[in-house]
């Protein structure tokens, strides 16, 4: 079976140790987590994990079943890139003098649709939100001039289809 990118969304209780329990499921099958984000969700007191992996659909399905089996997990889904709207964010810290010495940097900032978050005498910080390849392209363009620090966030995603988590929770409580 062909490998591809899958995004797993996990709706769960917000409890200590659950991240460990979920990451262990990937560890057990020797699958690397390529991106991870944990945040609150649209429902009060429900957390949302967004996990990106590169593997086959069969393995993704089995992993999602194992995740969903955990007592504190409400529901887990997996999606292909076509099923979701997704973004990542990145920060670039660059020496300030380059802004004046290297005219090309200004063009990169304009073309990449990135924002200057802060400027000081020593450095300035660019913020870029977009798809992974857009961030990679910007990184590649800036790299020859010297990047002092770089960081990229995990993927965040919402699905095109409806997510009936509130209904699922209600059903759980009724039973």
């Amino acid at each position: 079976m062909e490998k591809q990118w899958y995004t797993i969304s996990v709706y769960s209780e917000n409890n200590v140790g659950l991240l460990n329990r979920i990451s262990g499921i990937f560890l057990k099958r020797h699958i690397n987590i390529e991106g991870l984000n944990v945040s609150k969700s649209e429902i009060e007191n429900v957390s949302k994990f967004t996990i990106v992996i590169y593997t086959t659909e069969d393995w993704t399905r089995k992993i999602v079943q194992q995740i969903e089996k955990q007592v504190e997990v409400i529901k887990a889904f997996y999606h292909t890139d076509d099923d979701i709207i997704y973004q990542e964010s990145a920060l670039f810290k660059i020496a300030s003098h380059l802004l004046f010495d290297e005219r090309q940097i200004q063009n990169i900032i304009k073309e990449s649709n990135s924002q200057i978050v802060t400027v000081s005498r020593e450095f300035f910080v660019l913020s870029k939100t977009g798809r992974r390849h857009e961030i990679d392209e910007m990184h590649d363009a800036l790299e020859p001039y010297g990047i002092m620090q770089f960081v990229r966030s995990g993927r965040i995603a919402v699905t095109k289809a409806a997510m009936p988590i509130s209904e699922i929770l209600k059903e759980f409580q009724e039973n």
Binding site: S12, E13, G17, G24, Q65, K69, V71, I74
Partner: protein, 577 residues
């Protein structure tokens, strides 16, 4: 208004008590109906042990000689009673020593609650004396775990622990309690847990899936049932039997499904899997509808998945959605508790007989009997076989003992030849294959079923992994019958070395101590059998004993267990020799 307030206050006094966390733990256990726990004290759990001392008339604590023994004893108790087994240990090494038993309970779906002491909250993460991250360590092998650091959490978490351990597909739960939470006081009030919002223990059965299953079964020419422990855990034994009889369907069992149906039933065809019976394995690849009930298509059951039951439509009755399509792609999945789903299926099943199909099993049984079974049970060679010992135990106990086995050749022989009339009677370490399980599990099984004969069948290797638990048997006079089948080898590994490693016996030859003297050192009546002529009498003496009894049988050193599906081979290619 005043009276109402007064009433409320009075009511509060009735339902809450100001007590320490340690005492609260005891009240939680009592409220859950626990009257027996296994454990080992130590620094971080001492406040709870102090309360156990005060409550000893209501709650019996059995001091095992190692925490692993406590976990296995709790498992044995849980497996024979269907209730939650409880084990207790201190922090650090006490907790880590429980881990093997917890992992065993996880893979064999045994309801168990483990309570561990932990260093006081302010010391957490500081590498304090006997501090270990047992929540982190036990996460992959528990159904759920939790660290209590505040006394107020105790009642809710304990209630949740018991609920989660027992409900749905059962499993082990570990509750780690910091010492400050044991010492501090709370207003104690206990309410049993009836639900956790993110957790759905039993999926709703889908009537249309059951109809599809019934249609497949009714139209089948060669239907075949393989049942597992799900039948026992779901208490669906009578529904299974009714299905088998009404549909005229041959049924075989996984090692953990053994005893869910009496062994002498004419439609009970025996064991599937690596050392299972010939017909049940070979005919898996000849049936047209395979009905899997409460089993999980373990690799030891299926052999090579690429050639497993490819010709058959497969129906899977299963409580755990994560097991569906995990190893084997199924045509119909019926989720739910087996008692409920089989109960719904039964009225839809046509009365049927499959005489020609059953005759296939009979033919295969005849072949296996002549090439394997006869030589195992009624040997003519000089050396004693494990099979004939098992047969003598069947005869002496009227086919009605609880058989607890360890792991290895003796385990396969015990499961192949033990006879059962009652459910929950076969206690063995299936999924994890934990050597050392047998002796402590037998203690738990006996204490959970004092009215029944409990016979532990153990190899000389596994016996020495938890032999210290003889101390429990002696101290509490637990009338367990212990049979060590001694071949002076780690027999199963030796068998593999013979078959697959050109007889290079790397570290499988054992120079053993005098096991009879060791048992006698614990004041346990003991006897050794080296000749066939002594066997019957010795087994009868053992079964007749009202006290614990140790029997060592010196068996043939280099016997192999057959049939056997070599790793990676198809069930159809099971070897008879």
């Amino acid at each position: 208004m005043e009276t109402l307030k007064a009433e409320k206050k009075e009511k509060k006094q009735e339902t809450t008590m100001r007590i320490t966390g340690a005492e609260a733990i005891i009240h939680c256990l009592l409220a859950e109906g626990v009257d027996l726990i296994y454990g080992y004290p130590g620094g971080a759990i001492m406040p709870v042990y102090d309360e156990l001392y005060k409550f000893q008339d209501k709650l019996t604590h059995i001091l095992t000689r190692h925490e692993q023994g406590a976990a296995h004893a709790a498992q044995g108790y849980a497996r024979v009673t269907g209730r939650v087994g409880v084990a207790m240990a201190t922090s650090g090494p006490g907790a880590t020593n429980l881990v093997t038993g917890i992992a065993d309970a996880q893979i064999d779906s045994t309801p168990m609650v483990c309570i561990t002491g932990q260093v006081t909250r302010s010391l957490l993460g500081s590498d304090a004396f006997q501090e270990t991250d047992i929540v982190g360590i036990s996460t992959p092998v528990t159904k759920w775990n939790y660290q209590i650091t505040r006394v107020e959490e105790i009642p809710e978490i304990m209630a949740k622990a018991f609920y989660i351990a027992k409900s749905g597909r059962p499993g082990p739960v570990l509750v780690d309690i910091t010492k400050n939470a044991q010492f501090d006081e709370l207003d104690f009030k206990y309410e049993k847990c009836t639900g956790v919002r993110s957790y759905k223990p039993v999926p709703e059965p889908d009537a249309s899936a059951i109809e599809k299953a019934a249609e497949l079964i009714n139209n089948a020419k060669r239907p075949y049932i393989i049942f597992g422990q799900g039948v026992i855990l779901g208490e669906a034994e009578s529904e299974l039997k009714a299905l088998v009889e009404k549909g005229g369907i041959p049924a075989a069992w996984t090692i953990l499904g053994l005893s869910a149906m009496e062994t002498d039933h004419p439609l009970n065809m025996g064991m599937v899997g690596m050392h299972g019976n010939y017909g049940p394995n070979v005919l898996t690849n000849e049936c047209d509808v395979l009905i899997a009930i409460g089993m999980r298509f373990d690799d030891r059951v299926t052999g090579n998945l690429a050639t497993y039951a490819k010709q058959a439509k497969i129906i899977h009755f299963e409580i755990d959605p994560a097991e569906v399509n995990k190893n084997v792609r199924v045509d119909v999945a019926v989720l739910g508790n087996a008692k409920e789903t089989l109960g719904m299926l039964l009225p839809l099943i046509n009365k049927n007989e499959h005489k020609e199909w059953l005759a296939e099993f009979e033919k295969k049984h005849k072949i296996e009997f002549e090439t394997v079974i006869e030589k195992d049970i009624y040997p003519t060679k000089e050396g004693l076989t494990m099979g004939e010992v098992m047969e003598q135990i069947n005869i002496a106990s009227g086919d009605n003992a609880v058989i607890v086995s360890d792991v290895g050749q003796h385990q396969m022989i015990a499961c192949r030849y033990a006879k059962f009339k009652e459910t929950k009677s076969n206690i063995t370490s299936g999924g994890l294959g934990t050597m050392g399980f047998g002796l402590p599990a037998a203690i738990g099984a006996k204490m959970g079923a004092m009215d029944r004969e409990v016979v532990a069948i153990i190899g000389d290797g596994g016996y020495q992994m938890t032999i210290q638990e003889l101390g429990v048997i002696f101290q509490h006079n637990v009338p367990v019958k212990i049979v060590v089948l001694n071949n002076d080898h780690l027999g199963m590994v030796r068998q593999w070395q013979e078959l697959f490693f050109e007889s290079r016996y790397a570290s499988t030859v054992m120079t053993n101590p005098d096991f009879v003297k060791i048992a006698e050192g614990y004041h346990i009546k003991a006897r050794r059998v080296v000749q066939r002529s002594e066997l019957k009498d010795a087994v009868e003496e053992m079964i007749a004993s009202k006290d614990p009894y140790f029997l060592e049988v010196k068996v043939e050193k280099e016997d192999n267990v057959f049939p056997m599906i070599p790793t990676g081979a198809s069930v159809a290619d099971i070897r008879l020799k």
